[in-house]
């Protein structure tokens, strides 16, 4: 185990250096855009996995993305409220929403499938709400952020700034993950996941710790949504709220491995890269085929790598080491 940790440590340092250097080596703004998206989605998927790795599988994170993306954008467009502060208002609203939803779910003891189904419905409610208030939100076909190009409006002439913001956020998310690992919160949540009643009779306040991680996850997800909106400058219920986005976040985390800290990052990288690759390499020549291949690849990965790429990899390595021992 020691050996793995050591390699892991150096590996992460190298990875970090590469990630910092990348935008200076690759100058294509398209590739930079893809890389920024990867980091942004990695951040969101990591935040999602905070909950999922303790058995709270939410299929409704779209609502937090949506709140994070829409509120600052709309406040800016309507009232010229600077996103520098607006983002935090969005995050606060998302956290408040999470508090209401989470408390209701946990109070009534919704677990497993029921929790997943309720959150799925919540995701759909988020998209429908955007559509129902189409006069203010732009409805089903989206909403564009007013461009000013001013730094005070969080708009940068060099789009790579967003790459680094996303990178810092991702590093932050990984750091928080590690902190959770070393804190009693992990003990509490692991115990709660396996047996709420056993945990409670050892003095763990079930609702408090579940709420804690839910609020954290929702807040960070909203932050990711806000950043996405600022970066892409265009939001729509299809791209940043609703069931589709919620599921795609799960996909990224699960394919990468939601129990390992870098799993969501690896998953996001592979899914975004794969999607781009199949579309560009065969997109226009045989319409629809690229998406079929993408879908089948996802299917195969889910079937054959149920623990995700990082999960299966670390399992394989530890088996190998055990055999040597």
């Amino acid at each position: 185990m020691q050996a793995i940790n050591k390699y892991g440590f150096y590996g992460q340092i190298i990875l970090l250096v590469v990630l910092v250097m990348l935008p200076f080596i690759i100058t294509s703004s398209y590739l930079n855009h893809i890389m920024t998206l990867i980091l942004l989605w990695s951040f969101v998927a990591t935040a999602w996995a905070y909950m999922a790795r303790f058995g709270m599988v939410s299929l409704g994170h779209g609502i937090f993305l949506g709140i994070g993306a829409y509120f600052p954008t709309m406040m800016f467009n309507y009232w010229s409220f600077t996103p520098w502060i607006g983002i935090w208002v969005g995050v606060a609203i998302a956290v408040a929403t999470a508090a209401v939803l989470g408390y209701a779910c946990f109070r009534f003891g919704l677990l497993g499938d029921y929790f997943a189904l309720v959150t799925l419905a919540v995701a759909e409610v988020s998209a429908l709400t955007i559509m129902a208030f189409r006069e203010t939100t732009g409805g089903s076909l989206g909403y564009t952020l007013r461009a000013t190009g001013k730094i005070s409006d969080m708009q940068f002439s060099d789009k790579r700034v967003y790459y680094f913001i996303a990178l810092i956020l991702l590093i932050g998310a990984v750091y928080i993950w590690r902190r959770i690992d070393r804190s009693p919160i992990r003990l509490a949540l692991t115990a709660i996941e396996e047996s709420e009643i056993a945990a409670a009779s050892l003095g763990v306040s079930v609702i408090r710790y579940k709420m804690m991680i839910t609020l954290l996850s929702a807040g960070l997800t909203a932050l990711g949504g806000a950043l996405y909106a600022q970066y892409v400058t265009y939001v729509s219920p299809d791209t940043i709220a609703g069931v589709g986005v919620s599921l795609s976040v799960c996909f990224k985390a699960i394919l990468g491995g939601m129990f390992t800290v870098l799993g969501p990052f690896v998953g996001s990288t592979i899914i975004v890269a794969l999607e781009e690759y199949v579309r560009i390499s065969m997109g226009a020549s045989f319409l629809g085929l690229s998406q079929i291949i993408f879908g089948i690849s996802l299917l195969i990965m889910i079937i054959f790598l149920p623990k995700g790429i990082m999960g299966s990899m670390s399992l394989a390595i530890s088996r190998k080491l055990n055999r040597i021992d």
Partner: protein
């Protein structure tokens, strides 16, 4: 563990990189970025047809020896997948990785709206082919976005104007007696058209009895129809994509909706033959639709010399290539607007400014002036300058109102192009006609 992961990441990066690396410029070739929603929800609504029309134009130009007889047009095709997120990525790839001077296309206004500022940022031409929402250009003062076809508000204005000119057919004298209902899908396209509808209705002093938006993905419009039934409109102005339009026609019939006239505004209504095929011909009978005149309907004798033949060749080639002798209007638009770019704007840029760089193309586009009838689309071309509120918009384009009677389309408005008098009110043989 980390190492392996790193290797995977780098390998994937290389994979992706290698795809983009292949783009190498060659002499005497002009790379044209073509971006349409060829899959996804917008594909059947017209994204695919627009692409097909564009490809016929490219073939024809190449058959004539290329742009100004010198540059072969090499289309770089990308699929927007009806998803704004994907289209932004593809637009960026075309403009930066493929480094094309011009990206043309997009079906949906929702995709055109975020793409236009990107063209501005990379200083590449964005040649809008189908998306009609005013919001694409309005008040944005864009330098690099050009749009040949009319704007959504022109769509919205033309039907109301036509009805206003035909008040006597409703059996009433004053415009204030006409009861109008406006229903529309809630995207930029629908809301653009509907806003113009309402503006004109107000201007003429008509009686707006109802307006309601809905999502084009809806699977039930019965509540809307109930509301329409109690509003009892004389005229229903409808803007929608395809499935919602079919749903509307079918449900309205079954729920016994009666009115005096139904008018659609492009997109879903544009493709009357397909609508008839999918929903039943009698439902579409006597329905109005606004669009640029479809090629097959144009009076070729009224076009400038040569253009009539171009239209004929387009129709022939389209039928050969796509086995369809009645191209939808989106194909016509795709063809005509691409043709104007390749046949008029680019040669001028080459002649006057010496190259095909985006800036030369831009200058040429602003210079160009084609009178009415000078293009295969029928209308002329003159782009609004950057200081204009609609900068980049063709100020000489206009749509026509056509009416489908017994499966045949005729132009009902404007008067100058009229091929038949509009049939108002709906006769008794229409399922919506008042008996």
């Amino acid at each position: 563990m980390m190492k392996k992961c790193l290797v995977t990441v780098i390998a994937l990066g290389l994979c992706v990189g290698s795809v983009f690396g292949t783009a190498l410029a060659q002499d005497k070739e002009f790379k044209l970025g073509v971006l349409f929603s060829m899959t996804g929800a917008f594909a059947p609504a017209g994204g695919l047809a627009g692409y097909q029309g564009t490809m016929v134009a490219v073939d024809m130009i190449n058959a004539r020896g290329g742009i100004a007889g010198q540059y072969k047009v090499v289309p770089v095709i990308a699929d927007a997948q009806s998803n704004p997120d994907t289209s932004i990525r593809e637009g960026q790839r075309l403009m930066t990785v493929e480094n094309v001077p011009v990206v043309l296309g997009v079906f949906s206004s929702a995709i055109a709206v975020p793409l236009a500022p990107m063209a501005e940022q990379y200083k590449k031409i964005f040649w809008v082919i189908i998306a009609i929402s005013d919001k694409v250009v309005q008040d944005r003062h864009l330098n690099y976005t050009f749009r040949v076809q009319p704007t959504g508000s022109q769509w919205g204005q033309s039907t109301v104007t036509m009805f206003n000119e035909n008040l006597e057919k409703f059996g009433i004298k004053s415009a204030s007696e006409v009861r109008v209902a406006v229903i529309y899908e809630d995207g930029p396209y629908g809301s653009s058209v509907a806003a113009a509808n309402k503006e004109k209705v107000k201007e003429f002093g008509m009686n707006l009895v109802m307006e309601e938006a809905y999502s084009h993905k809806t699977n039930d419009l019965s509540s809307l129809i109930f509301k329409l039934k109690s509003a009892k409109p004389d005229v229903i102005l409808h803007t929608g994509y395809f499935p919602d339009v079919v749903l509307f026609f079918r449900q309205a019939r079954e729920l016994g909706l009666k009115t005096k006239a139904i008018a659609g505004h492009g997109a879903g209504h544009a493709n009357m033959p397909k609508l008839a095929e999918a929903a039943g011909g009698e439902l579409m009978n006597y329905c109005f639709n606004v669009d640029p005149a479809p090629a097959q309907l144009l009076d070729r004798s009224k076009l400038a010399p040569g253009n009539g033949d171009v239209v004929g060749e387009f129709l022939k080639r389209y039928e050969e290539k796509f086995k369809d002798n009645n191209p939808p209007t989106h194909a016509t638009q795709g063809f005509g607007h691409t043709w104007i770019l390749l046949n008029d704007v680019l040669p001028l840029a080459l002649e006057k400014y010496g190259d095909l760089s985006p800036d030369s193309i831009r200058k040429a586009a602003l210079d160009i002036e084609i009178p009415d009838g000078g293009t295969p689309c029928g209308y002329g071309v003159k782009f609004a300058p950057p200081e204009h509120a609609l900068s980049g918009q063709n100020l000489r384009s206009y749509p026509v109102v056509a009416q489908s009677v017994g499966g045949k389309l005729s132009i009902a408005w404007p008067g100058a192009l009229q091929t038949a008098q509009p049939v108002i009110p709906l006769p008794a043989d229409s399922p919506y006609g008042i008996k």
